[in-house]
Symmetry: C2
Subunit: 466 residues, 2 copies
């Protein structure tokens, strides 16, 4: 990150770092579009009423006021003010309802945009960051197969990002209905409360969560214990999952003929389908992990979190789930399922832990030297010829001594310096020097090609992270 | 624009419109990088003190407050609050000063980002829009040649946008020193005032401006008349410009040996260089137009505005200038020159006046049909094979009747529907149908290629605007 960035939580990349972020964005967009997702961009602001409605982050909003309104901000109730979006799911739901007549359903969309969270400033937390989302939203209904296809698209995308130093990613899936059915089967009723506490497991540990379940969710110590046992179940195939879940139900005397178990069974079936289908296509990429709770209250079925091998401290880098009731229009419902990559945190990991960096700061492949200011036109003409052939070119800023011009190219990481023929009247020609290898040879801007390895600006990572 | 967008001034595009915007952004980025500009992105917010310092738009700021601060916003003075940036020039200046040790100078950068202006809501004015900027910033000094090269890069970029229905663009250049020297030579002293009134010429006409010059800038009617005569001068070559300017100085008895004329002469020399150099490379692309004033007070030399043939009502679509004092660090100065495209307004023009639209909503080239849900895996496998070969593919959402699946492809604009072989045991093969032409033939996902014309999502415009 750029040093000394003066507003805490608002990261800003230096040019070589920005290249990494840009390449990550380009790669994700490519994967999303290959999979038929439609790109949209929503405005940065939403109505306060819509921001306050849903989600754990609804307390972390930045509200806007025009300079002219200073001192009178509070005249307008918060729900009638506008604020910056804190995710891309709430805006999508609003967009879908607003433009439903113009959209094809199921509507598969990708969206990569900045979001803002008005949190307290704290170490390592971003208040402005980029999210990269894919969602599918249906009109009325939404087939279940999207609940395995979307995590697989993300697995595919994250796999592509390994060239930038990202470790292997695994999606951990759970299902809200499974958890809720189990909790209700135990006799618990404050389902949101239980999910909220279970969501803290990785942060505060089982003992603390158990205490909170008893204190805040009216659980008995036995019920709390059962919730923790459920959270310990992981499985990479459906048969194993079903067996372990049913065994736990038996231990805790959950009535398999009751409505609670029926609800849990619905979630179990979906989750079983997800991990078995994923296993067929990409073994090891998606597992069942029944501690995944997701704090956001708009999820109604599948929930996902994604972890990187050897980077547990990063937490989930790609999360989401199915939400059946977020977008509604009268009686009409638009159920959706989607996942969101926390892109800035990922880029931060690549830069600082995997050593990802640009092979050069400048996109230019060639710096055309200038012998004297009177001949700058000649250098510009050469650069324009190269550009017309798709070769990015810069021209020396001044007709300084040649050593200084080469130093400028070096500072920008530009691999080639082009020397225009000083005396076109004689038989000489232009020459081009690779300042990395020292190789220098005659060249014609109409036909010269850079060596492949030096042609493009690209991203490199430390060898051990490849 | 998406209909019914519920927050005035915050435009949002429908998917087919967003394709146009995305292609415009891609094209600009390509041109900027071919010319050796380095891409950066700055945070969306700046300190109030920095936003309030400069520019005509400093009264149009959106300030931010965290939800927790509601009711106490005014406890913090405005200059200590944070607000959304209203352009990309002020952030660049701050970025350059903050990271000067890590940047190569002259620093050539491109930046395409949203900006926000907290204006009163009014018809046709955006409060959130995208700007596309290029600037070169020097450390201490900045060679004059950039003052012609940058407008030419923008001309080149705008030329590329003609494929999306944009008419021919012409950059109109002036120079602040020329204007100021002339005004001082007349005996005027409120230079900022005169520039501000002259800037209104196109909006309110010569009579009104003349009146305002007399009323607010202490000009005599004769001085006001002279200012208006200066504003009428245009020229497409240096000799013509010099001749007309000197003739006007003579009429108004400006002392060619005085310091005022010396200042004007400095601006005249730069402007002459600009239009003569531009004429050599791209005749008709850059002209001198002495009414160009630019409201922003940070310009110190060259100023530019850009107009489209037959779209005067749009106003300037690409503006900028040279600013020598915007970025400073103690005694150290970072002079810069740059231009900014108002991208959202341009896209709006393309969509609504030139009829630009995407040839299809979906990036997918192929929709793979699904015969029944049990065989969805087969369809997914075909789609994945196509994707691995760079062909964007979608899979039918349900195993509905074939007509319904084809209708879905049609609604998304997907040109090909792929029929998996229903009975792989026999000798049959997959078939693919072009639903535009009706052509249907056997195909293998490992080798099939779409016809070029149907391969990519692209932008089309009304024939008369090509």
């Amino acid at each position: 990150m750029a040093k000394g960035s003066s507003i805490s939580g608002f990261p800003e990349w230096l040019p070589a770092e920005r290249v990494v972020e840009q390449r990550v964005i380009d790669t994700l967009r490519e994967v999303f579009e290959l999979n038929g997702f439609i790109g949209i961009e929503t405005r940065a602001v939403e109505q306060g009423s819509s921001l306050l409605k849903k989600g754990e982050t609804s307390k972390e909003i930045y509200l806007l006021s025009r300079l002219q309104e200073v001192g009178h901000e509070s005249d307008t109730p918060v729900d009638q003010r506008i604020g910056l979006h804190f995710d891309l799911t709430v805006p999508l739901s609003r967009y879908v309802v607003e433009h439903s007549g113009a959209l094809p359903f199921p509507f598969k969309r990708w969206q990569i945009q900045k979001v803002w969270r008005g949190e307290r400033p704290q170490e390592g937390r971003f208040r402005e960051f980029v999210q990269a989302d894919i969602d599918v939203v249906g009109d009325g209904t939404l087939p279940e197969h999207y609940e395995v296809e979307l995590p697989l698209v993300m697995v595919n995308a994250l796999e592509r990002l390994r060239e930038f130093g990202l470790p292997k990613a695994t999606v951990h899936a759970n299902n809200r209905k499974l958890s809720e059915g189990f909790y209700r089967g135990l006799g618990l009723t404050d389902i949101e409360g239980v999910l909220r506490e279970i969501d803290k497991l990785d942060k505060i540990g089982a003992d603390e969560v158990s205490k909170l379940l008893v204190e805040t969710c009216a659980a008995t110590p036995q019920q709390a214990q059962a919730c923790l046992e459920l959270a310990q179940i992981t499985a990479s195939n459906g048969a194993e999952l079903v067996e372990r879940f049913n065994a736990l139900c038996e231990i805790h005397h959950i009535d398999v003929n009751g409505t609670a178990y029926a609800m849990a069974k619905e979630g179990l079936d979906t989750l079983t389908m997800i991990i078995d289908e994923a296993y067929k296509i990409r073994p090891g990429s998606v597992i069942a992990d029944l501690k995944i709770a997701r704090g956001l209250d708009y999820y109604t079925g599948s929930v996902y979190e994604t972890f990187l091998d050897g980077a547990d401290d990063l937490g989930s880098i790609c999360s989401g789930g199915r939400y059946d009731n977020l977008a509604t229009q009268g009686n009409r419902k638009y159920p959706g399922v989607g996942l969101s990559i926390g892109l800035s945190r990922l880029v931060s990991y690549m830069l600082h832990r995997a050593g990802a960096t640009a092979n050069r700061i400048s996109p230019a492949c060639v710096l055309v030297a200038v012998w004297n200011e009177e001949n700058r036109d000649d250098s510009n003409a050469i650069a324009n010829t190269l550009r017309s052939r798709g070769i990015a070119a810069d021209v020396a800023p001044t007709a300084a001594k040649l050593g200084k011009q080469i130093k400028y190219a070096d500072k920008l990481g530009i691999p080639y310096v082009w020397f225009p023929n000083e005396n076109p009247a004689d038989d000489g020609s232009d020459e081009v020097k690779n300042i990395v290898t020292g190789d220098q040879r005659p060249a014609d801007a109409q036909s010269w090609e850079p060596d492949t390895v030096y042609a493009q600006q690209s991203v490199t990572v430390n060898a051990e992270n490849r």
